[in-house]
């Protein structure tokens, strides 16, 4: 009866920003990124990609509540970088990785189809 609409889980409401940025006031080079209408899929890949960055001292994400359709990614970096820089780098690297994966997959499909009568 009072259940939220199903689309609430993935449609960003009008007037709301997809990503907002909140700097930590107490620790230098620490910040949180609040991402609306995303969940573990994005949270986990971004977090793991951030862990590869040696300038990232801490990276974690949380889904605060199953009915709050947002995730929070928290990043703490060394002075060699900044949370925003690390975040952008992680997304760019993941994007490039997926580009590579797509072409590798397409090549492999062509390769597989040509070796077999399919």
């Amino acid at each position: 009866m009072n259940a939220p609409d199903r689309y609430e889980r993935f449609v960003v409401p009008e007037g709301t920003k997809k990503v907002s940025y909140e700097r930590d006031t107490k620790i230098i080079n620490a910040a949180s990124f609040i991402i609306e209408r995303e969940e573990h899929t994005i949270g986990n890949i971004v977090r793991m990609q951030l862990h590869l960055d040696e300038n990232v001292l801490f990276a974690g994400y949380k889904l605060p509540h199953p009915l709050q359709y947002k995730i929070i990614i928290r990043i703490h970096t060394t002075s060699q970088s900044s949370p925003m820089q690390a975040y952008n780098l992680a997304i760019n690297d993941l994007d490039k990785e997926l580009d590579h994966l797509r072409s590798a997959f397409e090549d492999e499909i062509a390769n597989y189809s040509s070796t077999r009568e399919y």
Binding site: R6, Y7, R9, F10, V11, K17, K18, V19, S20, Y21, R23, F33, I35, E38, H40, T41, I42, N44, I45, V46, R47, M48, Q49, L52, D53, S79, Q80, S81, S82, M84, Q85, Y87, N88, L89, A90, I91, N92, D93, L94, D95, K96, E97, L98, D99, H100, L101, R102, A104, F105, E106, E108, I109, N111, Y112, S113, Y118
Partner: protein, 318 residues
């Protein structure tokens, strides 16, 4: 500032590929990417499914909403779904079936006039768009001979009738499972099994036999010529630890070592027939890229980072 990058270069190897099934190896990436792909394939790759049903006549034994639900679950060919619009984003129309960008109209008319039961199936659904039709399972199975009639909707007896109009729309599995193109998507870590040959050589044949038999799945066997325990199918291992426990109870800990390769995955993808299995994976990669693109920082957010002051500006190359 030097260009930093921690990009990986994943490697793919296809083991088996059919229209609605595929098995492949994915290497040189981590579990987060493998799991993201799996999650996107199940819940975020769009398909087309019946979403709105107007029933004109229904004198069948099933009530209207029961039939509407069954219609929704029928897989429709959805190669076009990636380029279609969600009806909520479609400005050109109100998603009433007349709009070529976001919806497809179906009609169903069936009346039983004989004493024999009439089967109403997905084959009786007439589409207004030849690219979006109920999936033909005979075609997928590759056998034209069998007289399989499609997905059963309802059975009618003499005098009963069903007449309706249905509108199919683009959607994703997150919204409702009827839109999920995936029947199953799973991945497993590739196991790496090492047998300590020296220790094994010192065992009696009965001991070897009991080790082989301790595994619930057929992972090990005894080589008939050398009488040694060998791995016959590493991937049959279900990470059940039974062999390890058996060795511990025999006091032979370390004789067999089993590790999960953390960067190597074996995927199994099965589709409902809405899209081909290979296309499902490619669509998932595309959707994941779009999702990443959506979470990029906007320019006005970057400006707000000025609070970081000189150091931040310096590091950004300003």
């Amino acid at each position: 500032m030097e260009e930093r990058s921690y990009q990986r270069k994943p490697v793919v190897k296809i083991r088996e590929m059919k229209d609605d099934y595929m098995k492949f190896e994915l290497r040189n990436t981590d579990a987060s990417v493998a799991n993201a792909l799996r999650r996107v394939m199940i819940a975020e790759v769009p398909t087309v499914a019946i979403d709105l049903v107007e029933i004109e006549v229904n004198s069948s034994v099933l009530n209207d909403e029961f039939i509407a639900h069954r219609l929704g679950l029928i897989p429709l060919t959805s190669e076009r779904a990636m380029s279609m619009r969600f009806s909520r984003d479609c400005d050109a129309c109100d998603g009433d079936g007349q709009c070529e960008y976001c919806s497809v109209e179906f009609h169903l008319r069936a009346k039983c006039v004989v004493d024999q039961t009439l089967d109403v199936t997905s084959k009786d659904l007439l589409s207004s768009d030849h690219t979006v039709v109920p999936v033909d399972f005979n075609e997928i199975a590759g056998d034209e001979t069998s007289e399989q009639k499609g997905v059963m909707i309802v059975k009618l007896r003499r005098g009963q009738e069903l007449r309706l109009r249905a509108i199919a729309r683009k959607g994703i599995g997150k919204d409702h499972a009827k839109w999920s193109p995936a029947a199953t998507v799973t991945f497993m870590y590739e196991p790496e099994i090492n047998i300590n040959e020296d220790m094994m050589a010192r065992l009696s044949l009965e001991d070897k036999q009991s080790i082989v038999e301790s595994s619930p799945t057929k992972v090990f066997d005894i080589d008939p010529t050398t009488q040694q325990v060998v791995v016959v199918d590493a991937e049959a291992y279900t990470y059940d630890d039974e062999v390890i426990k058996k060795l511990e109870s025999m006091g032979k800990t370390g004789l067999i070592d089993i590790k999960a390769k953390e960067d190597s995955f074996i995927f199994t993808v099965e589709t409902t027939g809405a899209v081909k299995a290979s296309q499902l994976v490619l669509n998932a990669i595309e959707i994941l890229k779009q999702k990443l693109d959506a979470v990029r920082l906007s320019d006005d957010t970057v400006e707000a980072d000025d609070q970081f002051g000189e150091l931040g500006a310096h590091m950004r190359g300003g």
